[in-house]
């Protein structure tokens, strides 16, 4: 199967949704290769994700969408059809720490991460050589700490020009302005280097060291206006002991950050993450 259609749905829960949707797919001859569903009984909301073999169905993604639209309307659905033949365009943003960037670029290069990376943006020039070796344009946009507005205007311009579907803050150590957060709501992914909600803000490993925790963590989440408070996609941890200095925590944490970010991004790219309020449904 060279590509797939993905139908992702979220709507008020009621009897007959699966019947209606699955019968529609069956009527087109559609072969569902993967199906996930979730009923949030507390919130009364239903979520589903179908992966469909396009060869089994005599329709383009646009046609499928057009045919599906009345059902979406009938059930009050938020829904989308995504043809994986169209790769998502992911802009990476980074500061001076290279570990998440190296990891994502390698996954992209080896075909493990199914997306296009139109460019990398950084407030420092350090990663230029690495990025360009991968054949990806690199934009150095310095941030003046007394007036960040021009820098973020330029970032926004570059992201627009790149036609980004998604922005990944791969250890980009600047706070994103609210306008950008809002514009890319649900498409702006950050890796925070703590086990949220512990240790919000700056130097979380040093905060963790000060508190004497026995596990450190990292959190991949969507960015919202409130700092480090957006919907969590993935978290992971690593065990530490009294032997480890704050610098050791920084070092050990890098591996956790890499993995949590890579998993979170992968799930996002595969349309496995649905946002509901400040939480996520992850059909992993």
């Amino acid at each position: 199967m060279s590509h797939a259609y993905r139908l992702v749905v979220s709507c008020p829960d009621r009897v007959g949704i699966v019947s209606r949707v699955s019968t529609f797919i069956a009527e087109q001859g559609g072969w569902i290769t993967e199906a996930n569903q979730h009923s949030d009984l507390g919130a009364g909301r239903f979520f589903m994700r179908y992966e469909i073999n396009p060869e089994s169905i005599g329709l383009s993604a646009e046609e499928l969408s057009k045919h599906f639209a009345p059902i979406g309307e009938e059930f009050g659905m938020q829904w989308r059809v995504h043809d994986t033949a169209t790769k998502m365009r992911v802009v990476l943003m980074v500061s001076k720490d290279s570990h998440c960037l190296v990891d994502l670029l390698h996954r992209w290069q080896s075909g493990d991460l199914d997306c296009d990376i139109p460019c990398v943006i950084s407030n420092h020039d350090d990663m230029r050589s690495l990025v360009e070796w991968h054949g990806i344009p690199f934009h150095h946009v310095p941030v003046d700490k007394h007036d960040k507005t021009p820098a973020f205007a330029e970032v926004e311009r570059l992201v627009e020009a790149a036609q980004a579907d998604c922005i990944v803050l791969a250890r980009y150590m600047q706070i994103i302005p609210p306008t950008l957060c809002e514009r890319y709501a649900g498409r702006l992914i950050n890796i925070h280097h703590s086990f949220l909600p512990s240790f919000v803000g700056a130097k979380p490993y040093h905060q963790a060291f000060g508190r004497g925790v026995k596990l450190i963590g990292a959190t991949c989440h969507y960015v919202t206006e409130e700092l480090d408070a957006g919907p969590i996609i993935e978290q992971d941890i690593h065990r530490v002991t009294h032997c480890h200095t704050a610098e050791d925590l920084v070092r050990l944490g890098r591996d956790v950050e890499q993995k949590a970010l890579a998993r979170g991004l992968r799930w996002h790219l595969e349309d496995r993450v649905l946002i509901h309020g400040n939480k996520t449904i992850v059909f992993a």
Copy 2:
């Protein structure tokens, strides 16, 4: 919701299964509160599990089964409807190690494990007081190592008399005879104290110690005639170091065994485990 219906299906994969089943449920007014599906693309087989609110559907489990039967026939399904109002009857078997038994009895007593325990059978008398304190009958069936046949005839008689739906070997250190394995195929659960397929057979922790592994494990699996080779339900591990003796591994392993067995049994009781060949689908 005081109880639930669970519809569990396994059949050759083809277009329209979900449509047919979900439409049938919708036609009865059935509210699906949890749904899991899996297509094994390699094996061409489809698996599903629906949890349905009985109050939404004006049918008893027997009536629901009767109505569903033609669909089962049409699609060549293995299927069952289980009304959770009817608790599964689980016979526990144990030798001298108490940790899994204590854990399961406590989960049962606190309502965490939704089953009846008609009796506990052991080849030793050590656990009698513990079991009887829980108000559960205890049967001591000594096993003569020169002739195990009478003991297992008695075990089989007791299990039959208890109308067991499921047998759990909670560290019962005897090999189960093939007839019993066959009779309770897919309903006879063991906890093996290694990370299978490593360290099959006796004294796995001592084998692990001898090999110098850095992680020990436990495996919850269905018992088949071939020793420690049946379908795996759940596995877990614990980190060890050069500081740990073989006895330490035994001790640390107990916690892993408890958890892996409790999780595996819970999933079995919740109809979340489907067997296919020598593997399991676990809708956890």
Copy 3:
């Protein structure tokens, strides 16, 4: 080896400590079976723990202490010698949740937890039968929420009468008064059902559910006056998903609490935990 001497030392770091201590032990013919050391380079403090075979050394623990005292003085040490022949006396306190209690009692009964349990104290009467089945006295001390003073006076009296070396709050859902915290500083162990410092205070699993975390945790720590802020001994986590309700988190968390508390207590009983400020050194 039927028992062991444990020498535990904490002092300002400088050249020659190990030489002085190990030479002293060697001069007595002492065979060190386990040795742990840690230099906190930031704090300039040194920590060590020796486990010594008593048969190799012709001295009682008291005599060993007496001979060691001048070294302790010379180096400004906090130190103690513990003969494991004298078991620590551990009072357990519990409310209505039984999982940690059952786990600790079973470990104690099976000889896995090397201590005496002179009594169990609870603000409810629910656990009486369980505790008494283990042959341990049970004290029901109801807490009047309008005036908790009499209850805690009684608790303190019982703990004193039991000659407790250590108090374990095995899900005792009351805040301990400052006087008791101070009196048993470094000997009063709690299990908090969150991954601290996240979710301090009441209903942490519901807080975690509200925040949409992907991992839940538990923290074993020494109690200090400030709620859930004392030195952390051990933490552990369990993965959760969008499928889990707040009640599921409560259930899944129980296993994590059991394990974190049991490990923390074991290390405490084995003199493996040294407190320094608000942190612990754990020679596990």
Copy 4:
């Protein structure tokens, strides 16, 4: 501290070793910044590792070794002093899978892995550009499957010319000839893509898939003549489900391999791994 001396000792256990060694260090004014010891009571063998601040001691590593030699002789020690100012020289060997190589090169480049990498050797030419971008010589040594002798003669020549202290098989998919195993015994590190001793040999993820395991793993170990049977340094695992194909296991396993290899190599470079028979003591 710009560098450190590391004294690593293994000898028959007896009373007075620590006293003798630590007193020797103290007499030189040596400040021990990290100390690890282990007594294998079963084997009657003692292991230790001291990290010493060179500025506290008025001796070169050579002088320190010379002064220490009589103690080594007296106690029948295997011992070495390593001055970390002299970096170990690590030759990497790789086939076509890049994930471990990329990870190690990045750790080396960012200063996280304290060694020199004089060259990378591969039986394929695919990694040349990546390696050379890091400024490291790349040697393509094709292996003729009908006669591997010339290739391994060339490998041995290159390793010798590189004055390698250590060889790392970072997914080098060829069996190393016995002579090379022997020559670099205890200095030849492999990452095997299974949780050993399960799934020795070829295609371990496919073996794991076939067996239906619920956890996959990777094992970092020293290479000996017997395939995948040498002393284990580190192991790690990742949870998998029925949803994962064999190809998914391969993909998920890459992260585990990276981490297990990186940790194992780091510990080796930091003189934290002592070999005893077919096991390791890891002072991590």
